[in-house]
């Protein structure tokens, strides 16, 4: 038997053997013996091994299969070929055992490319898994499907990506973003389709998706900068919450983006030259106007800088570096230095991190010494540093050297020169040389120090000193014959060719300064010529030539001797040089013309070499990139463009609804409607004017924050508005009046269609308007108009300020009314999704709802075979905020609350609430807290007091209230330093629940226990489309915080939850019976049951498809 490893090699090389193996497998009972023949026995050892793996895989026992797969993965990990097992492995792709399945996936991804035909067998399994209710399974199916690099399945992959990009689970969408890149590398022809998907995913609001889709963007279509415009602000704002790897990618992309979209913040000088040319023919005055125009940073530019700054505190070094390079490339010069500390901090990290960071600091420190000078000591070298780290630190220290600190640095260098690491010592000598040329005060000191080093025992040190001295002397050759003499004396002891060559060159160059010694050196060299290195020989020839010209009397013979030696040298360079020199210096009949100039050619004054940093030109690469590290263009490097001389249109970044971050949580729509209906008293034109201002105010830097969330909420309100009849009535009546107004108004022709549209359907407009930048601005003002924009538009109003003021004074009193109004509305407004809230699960848009989404929706809840009731995450989180305290009542303090539907972190029986406090007054509010005494009986977990809230700022805090499973309002006192406001929170019954999951069987079982007086039911009449599964699911989970129970029965929908305080089970089932539907609620809490029932009745009857 041969050795195993040898076998496997020979085996692997023959793909065709596989069929032989299959044949062998059939005969396996005859085991390896005579029947296989000679060829078979050659592979017997290896075959046998794979044979039993195959047997194990075909066994019925899961554990054996798993064991086999583990061994196969072991083979793959070692880099051994296991491809012949493909048919046996691929059969297990549909295994129920999840670990086995995953290992099969690992195998598939590894070998599918080699076994394309067989790989196709597995595709259907993945296609099925893509419809699985479990999001993890959907995601991993997509991952594997897209990782199988088989060109035939490109269309299937494309379809899968398109479908998954609209999946309800952000995790699946993230996977889809990854799949885009895979498909692109497999088939670049799909680019156009993929860009569509990227465009869609870029709009995604999930922080999970953002990093991955930007990555896909960078790989597939980095030049399509236009796709970023609309998402720019959203990306900036969500950046802090994106996972760290995504942050790096987004920051790099935004750096590139910003360089194309904003003008340079670096003062006028860079831009000025170009301007000069352009304005050459312009009048002098114009140009001056141009120059004196002060630089104003684009608010979006500022937004980016502001939002990336906190990330300097990240624990991820790549993030810190990314932010640093962003500041380096984008920030005004005086702001760049904030990154210094963080970069210096990174130096404490691993060796490899240090290496990259030091490289970047080296580049930075050339341009801006001041940034790192205070931290000079952090770059002191330790004997334990790796050599490349030491060299980089040295580089930085040299860059930082100036007149003030040079003595400290030189003292430090003295220690380094003595280092045992000779390569480092040599580098130090070069550094000293650089300091000597840069700072003329110390040139002599350095030169003397270097001369001392010439007597060093280590030849690398000596050699390096010679080379550096040579360069230094060349820069100031005046009176240094002493040094040259000294070097000549040392010449015999120096063996390093480079150093010897340097000394010879110096001799020749300055032979007139040392007329006595030079011929003697030449004599010595003539003796040892044949044994010298090539580089030295060349210099000997040079020296001979130069001496021949200056001192031919003494050296004529020597020179001829050397030239003769050189003529027959083995190296052709030396032969060439010799021939050339001979023709040049020895006058003969052939070369008359040139030899006249020999002296001028050879003894020409030579420019001194410039000693400069190796990092001098590295800033042509974007910092922090691979190209910068390597100092050469890496594949796929994207050039950072120069600042545009004139900023491109900034309105392209405007998104539909933009509200300042701080005020975004104000219940925009509800309030504005009310306010607007009141404003009917006033002339329409005024309102329109305000809208116009809104569009200008929109650009203010503090805005834009919540634009995305706002737009999201509007999508929702699309549905919700319709479901609550009272509201839609209001809005429609209002829209009529508004329409009239807009028609009257002749000022704003272009805006008309937009505003009309918007007012017809506040929600729907959002989608349409997202396409039109300028129109979308007005949207923002409509929601802001009554509530928040007061102070803001004041700032921004320029032309219309007069009327604006007037309007404001008028509209203010109107707004103070509605607090009571609001409270009444609450019950109905449960579905009033018009407000911002960070929602983990994006809500379905009606347009994309397909039957498969139902199963996806179910997949979001955790299905488990165990009978235990499992709490699950909420299927749906409404984005509605309810008003707690209006700003007029609260003397500037306004508060909104929202049910987060998450288990409360403060107590098991508490309902978790999110409170947003905004300060609308002119002064800062201090010490905002909830007073200790609670007037009602509920147990309230107070949020910790807010020390100070600046004007126009807002803060979000969370609190918990134990409602004891009743809808009784919780009353408490919201206090500031000066005031106390009595407020109350009344929960809708649906919020008193927490979703749980259970199997369908358990549901039926539990339902069986809760019959009789624990069961209440009602029949409602609806239209068939209203009772379609997705709309029922959507409406039920939005009305109450319940979990969806995956069901096999098409016509019955089940939901489960428990009450927060007592934990009683609440089971809801909806059974549509055309045209009616039967709603059943089973729970011990009969009050809750009846209230829920009432709520569902409204929810399910009012829906429209």
């Amino acid at each position: 038997m041969l050795g195993m490893s040898a076998n496997s090699v020979s085996y692997n090389e023959q793909g065709s053997v596989e069929s032989g193996v299959d044949a062998a497998q059939e005969n396996s009972n005859i085991s390896g013996g005579g029947s296989g023949g000679a060829a078979f026995s050659l592979f017997s050892a290896d075959c046998k091994k794979n044979e039993d793996l195959k047997e194990m895989l075909e066994n019925n026992k899961e554990s054996l299969k798993l064991e086999a797969m583990k061994r196969i993965v072991g083979l793959i990990a070692k880099g051994k070929n296991a491809s012949e097992l493909f048919p046996a492995v691929v059969k297990n792709v549909a295994s129920k055992n999840i670990e086995l399945k995953k290992l099969v996936y690992v195998y598939l991804v590894r070998y599918a490319e080699e076994q394309q035909d067989l790989a196709l067998l597995s595709i259907s399994t993945f296609q099925r898994a893509l419809k699985d209710p479990n999001q993890l399974i959907r995601a991993s199916a997509l991952r594997v499907l897209s990782s199988i690099r088989v060109p035939i399945i490109v269309p299937i992959m494309m379809l899968a990506i398109k479908e998954s990009s609209t999946d309800l689970s952000p995790y699946v969408r993230k996977t889809a973003a990854h799949a885009i890149q895979k498909l692109y590398s497999l088939d670049p022809d799909q680019k156009e389709h993929l860009i569509e998907v990227i465009e869609k995913l870029l709009k995604d609001k999930s922080t999970l998706v953002a990093g991955s889709v930007v990555m896909a963007f960078e790989e597939v279509c980095p030049d399509r900068i236009d796709l970023i415009h609309k998402n720019y602000r959203k990306l900036c704002n969500m950046l802090v919450d994106v996972e760290e790897w995504g942050q790096v990618v987004i920051i790099h992309m935004l750096t590139r983006y910003a360089r194309t979209q904003f003008v340079s913040p670096w003062g006028e000088d860079a831009v000025f030259d170009e301007n000069n040319e352009k304005t050459f023919y312009d009048s002098e005055e114009e140009r001056r106007a141009d120059e004196s125009k002060p630089y104003v940073m684009d608010p979006d530019h500022r937004l980016l800088l502001r939002n990336t700054k906190p990330l300097l505190q990240s624990r991820n070094t790549a993030v810190v570096m990314a932010v640093s390079q962003l500041y380096w490339h984008l920030a005004p010069k005086h702001e760049i230095s904030i990154v210094t500390k963080s970069l210096v901090r990174l130096l404490r990290s691993h060796r490899e991190v240090q290496y990259v960071v030091l490289q970047n600091i080296a580049t930075m420190s050339i341009q801006r010494k001041g940034m790192f000078e205070p931290f000079m000591k952090s770059f002191y070298v330790r004997s334990t540093d790796a050599t490349h780290i030491k060299t980089l630190k040295l580089e930085i220290l040299t860059n930082l050297a100036n007149e003030a600190n040079i003595s400290t640095i030189l003292r430090e260098f003295q220690t380094y020169v003595k280092s045992q690491d000779k390569a480092f010592a040599a580098a130090t000598i070069q550094a000293i040389g650089r300091c000597a040329t840069d700072i003329s005060e110390v040139t002599d000191t350095c030169l003397n120090g270097l001369v001392l080093l010439l007597s060093n025992r280590d030849e690398t040190v000596v050699a390096e000193s010679v080379v550096v001295i040579k360069k230094l002397l060349q820069t100031q050759p005046s009176q240094h014959s002493d040094i040259i003499k000294h070097m000549a004396k040392l010449f015999d002891n120096i063996t390093v060719p480079m150093a010897r060559a340097s000394i010879l060159w110096l001799m020749g160059e300055y032979c007139e300064h040392v007329p006595k010694i030079a011929p003697d050196v030449l004599r010595k060299m003539a003796k040892s010529f044949t044994s010298e290195e090539d580089i030295v020989k060349l210099q000997i020839v040079n020296l001979a030539a130069k001496l021949y010209l200056t001192n031919s009397k003494q050296t004529k013979l020597l020179t001829q001797y050397i030239l003769n030696l050189g003529k027959y040298d083995q190296n052709y360079d030396i032969r060439d040089r010799t021939r050339f020199i001979r023709q040049l210096i020895v006058p003969n009949e052939k070369s008359g013309a040139l030899s006249k100039y020999a002296r001028r050619i050879l003894m020409a004054p030579k420019p001194a070499p410039v000693l400069q940093s190796a990092f001098k030109d590295r800033d042509r690469y974007q910092l922090g990139t691979l190209s910068h590290s390597l100092n050469s263009y890496a594949t796929g490097y994207l050039e950072l463009s120069n600042w545009p001389p004139v900023a491109p249109d900034q309105s392209v970044r405007n998104v539909e609804v933009v509200e300042p971050v701080t005020e975004a949580l104000a219940s925009a729509l509800g309030k504005s409607k009310r306010a607007k209906s009141d404003e009917k008293f006033y002339s329409g034109s005024e309102e329109e004017e305000e809208e116009e201002e809104g569009s200008s105010s929109e650009d203010s830097s503090s805005s834009s924050g919540e634009s995305e969330s706002e737009s999201k909420s509007e999508e929702n309100s699309d549905d919700s508005n319709k479901s609550s009849s009272s509201q839609s009535e209001k809005s429609s009546s209002e829209s009529d009046t508004d329409k009239k107004k807009t028609q009257k108004n002749k000022k704003l022709h272009q805006q008309k269609p937009a505003s009309k549209d918007r007012k017809l359907k506040n929600g729907k407009a959002a989608n349409a308007e997202s396409r039109s930048g300028s129109e979308s601005d007005s949207e923002s003002s409509s929601s802001e108009s009554s509530s928040e924009s007061g102070s803001q538009s004041e700032l921004d109003s320029n032309s219309d300020s007069g009327t604006d003021q007037k309007r404001k004074t008028k509209s203010k009193p109107v707004q103070s009314k509605p607090v009571t109004n609001q409270a009444e509305k609450k019950e109905v407004s449960l579905l009033d999704l018009d407000d911002f809230s960070p929602v983990p699960v994006s809500t379905p848009k009606s347009s994309i709802l397909s039957p498969s989404l139902l199963s996806d929706l179910q997949g979001l809840s955790i299905s488990s075979s165990a009978s235990a009731l499992q709490a699950s995450s909420p299927v749906f989180v409404p984005e509605t905020s309810h008003e707690l305290l209006h700003r007029m009542t609260g003397k500037g303090l306004s508060a909104q609350y929202r049910f987060t539907r998450q288990p409360c972190i403060y107590g098991n029986s508490m309902v978790s609430l999110q409170l947003t406090l905004s300060n609308n007054s002119e002064q800062a509010l201090e010490n905002i807290h909830i007073s200790e005494k609670s007037s009602s009986g509920q147990n309230i977990h107070r949020f910790s007091a807010i020390e100070r809230l600046e004007p126009q700022a807002s803060a979000t805090v969370s609190m918990g209230v134990d409602f004891n499973d009743s809808t009784q309002a919780a009353h408490f006192q919201l206090c500031t330093k000066e005031d106390e406001f009595s407020v109350s929170i009344q929960p809708a019954v649906g919020e008193l629940l927490l979703p749980i999951t259970m199997s369908e069987a358990d549901f039926t079982k539990e339902q069986g226990k809760l019959v009789g007086m624990n069961e209440s039911s009602a029949t409602i009449t609806t239209t068939p489309e209203n009772i379609s599964s997705q709309s029922v699911n959507r409406n039920v989970v939005s009305a109450a915080n319940l979990g969806v129970i995956p069901s096999n029965q098409e016509n019955i929908h089940r939901f489960a939850g428990k009450t927060v305080s007592s934990g009683s089970l609440v089971l809801v089932s909806v059974a549509p019976k055309d045209p009616d539907a039967l709603i059943t609620v089973n729970t011990e809490k009969s009050v809750i049951a009846s209230m829920l029932l009432r709520q569902f009745k409204t929810a399910l009857t009012n829906i429209t498809p």
Partner: protein
């Protein structure tokens, strides 16, 4: 992004490979081996190595090179940071990150790598999330798995992956609820020949071990937060709160984690807890050299200096050392020329010393440079910067947790030039 990963052991063998895109032949590592050969020390291999078609980015930890293969432009720190995260994860899972441990757990390693990257882009690197997907191997679980046939692989998407607190899993339960915080400070210093400090700075970390039930919300405040010059946080820390109030407010991950690392800058005066008296001299022509070291406590705030370990790389010409330690033991490796002296605790009454002679190779020249001395030490119950935790409060849960704070000062890169 990251195309493939090769693990190379100290003797230069590839013992594991993993590809996230199409397979890259392991011959690409030849370029790495070339660089490895060129480097005199294992640490001297450049972290980024260009090859004609790929770029190799490597990280050396636990004497294993993690070599990532890159095909196009990517921030090198991105890859380096990720590789370190991989090592941390292995360490977390297997206790140690050695070749043997990786080979023993090759399946778990593969499963982990599969989860950590998708198409070369990091997918899940948070330890808590990974642990829900792939349970760390324990002896008990291996036994149970073989009997019951259950697996190590989670079937559900970890709750953390979608939640706003991805670092914490839900449904954590402990009978003893404990939260321990270790404030560990390291002094980096270079002391020159005459004993004066050239540079000194303090790097501190607050490591936590939190085993609390449910979803606790903790706040930690310091007596003197101003000391902290530059901080970096675990993602759980609410940055805004820190900015405004200098209070650390966070929902902690479950188990061990690094809450914060900070820097006390070189501008501040740093107390140096030990001093070294040294007399190391070689004479020209003589084959003997004198070697004397004495250690003593300096500014220790009355605390004992413990676990002192002195090491020094002696010049290449040194043949042997014949020394006498008044306390502890010393070793000298004639091959690497590394002298190390395990001192133990410094007794202020009787200062530890190491005296004797070193012999040089016959005919060797007097070394140019005297060796630098690296010192390690520990001081319990002291944070040398003076940082003090004021209080730790817990919100959100009803039980009373057991809280503990420990301080420690260690030598970081503490060097004495002689």
């Amino acid at each position: 992004m990251i195309h493939s990963l090769f693990l190379v052991n100290a003797s230069g063998d590839i013992f594991l490979e993993k590809h996230w895109k199409s397979v890259v032949s392991r011959s690409v590592c030849d370029y790495f081996f070339e660089a490895l050969e060129r480097a005199t020390e294992p640490e001297n291999v450049p972290p980024v190595i260009p090859t004609p078609h790929h770029y190799l980015i490597n990280v050396l930890r636990h004497r294993i090179y993690f070599v990532a293969v890159i095909q196009s432009e990517v921030p090198p720190l991105f890859v380096i940071e990720f590789l370190h995260r991989v090592v941390d994860t292995f360490q977390d899972y297997f206790g140690v990150c050695t070749e043997a441990a990786i080979k023993d757990n090759v399946v778990v390693v593969y499963e982990l790598l599969e989860e950590m990257l998708d198409n070369g882009f990091p997918l899940a690197t948070e330890s808590n999330i990974l642990k829900e997907l792939i349970k760390p191997p324990t002896i008990l679980r291996t036994v149970v798995n073989t009997i019951t046939g259950s697996t190590n692989v989670g079937e559900q998407l970890p709750t953390g992956q979608l939640s706003v607190v991805p670092w914490r899993r839900t449904g954590v339960k402990y009978t003893n609820n404990e939260a321990y915080f270790d404030v560990v400070e390291e002094i980096d210093a270079i002391i020159d020949k005459s004993g004066s400090t050239i540079t000194a700075e303090i790097q501190g970390v607050v490591d936590a071990c939190v085993k609390l039930t449910g979803m606790p919300d903790l706040t930690l405040s310091f007596m003197n937060p101003r000391l902290l010059d530059d901080v970096s946080f675990h993602p759980c820390v609410r940055f805004k709160r820190w900015e405004a109030e200098r209070i650390l407010s966070f929902i902690p991950p479950d188990g061990n984690f690094r809450l914060l690392s900070y820097h006390v800058s070189s501008q501040n005066l740093v107390a140096i807890p030990v001093y070294v008296k040294h007399n190391i001299s070689f004479r020209e022509g003589s084959s003997q050299g004198r070697f004397e070291l004495t250690l003593g406590p300096k500014q220790t705030m009355g605390k004992a200096v413990e676990s002192v370990l002195v090491s020094s790389q002696l010049p290449r010409g040194v043949l042997n050392a014949n020394l006498n330690a008044s306390q502890g033991t010393y070793t000298f490796d004639p091959v690497t020329k590394l002298l190390s002296w395990d001192v133990g605790k410094i007794n202020p009454q009787k200062l530890p010393s190491l005296k004797g002679s070193v012999s040089l190779q016959a005919g060797a020249f007097k070394p140019d440079e005297n060796p630098t001395i690296n010192i390690q030490f520990k001081i319990q119950q002291l944070a040398i910067s003076g940082l003090k935790v004021n209080r730790l409060d817990m919100y959100g849960e009803k039980y009373k947790p057991f809280k503990g704070i420990k301080y420690m000062t260690k030598a970081g890169k503490f060097q004495v030039r002689t």
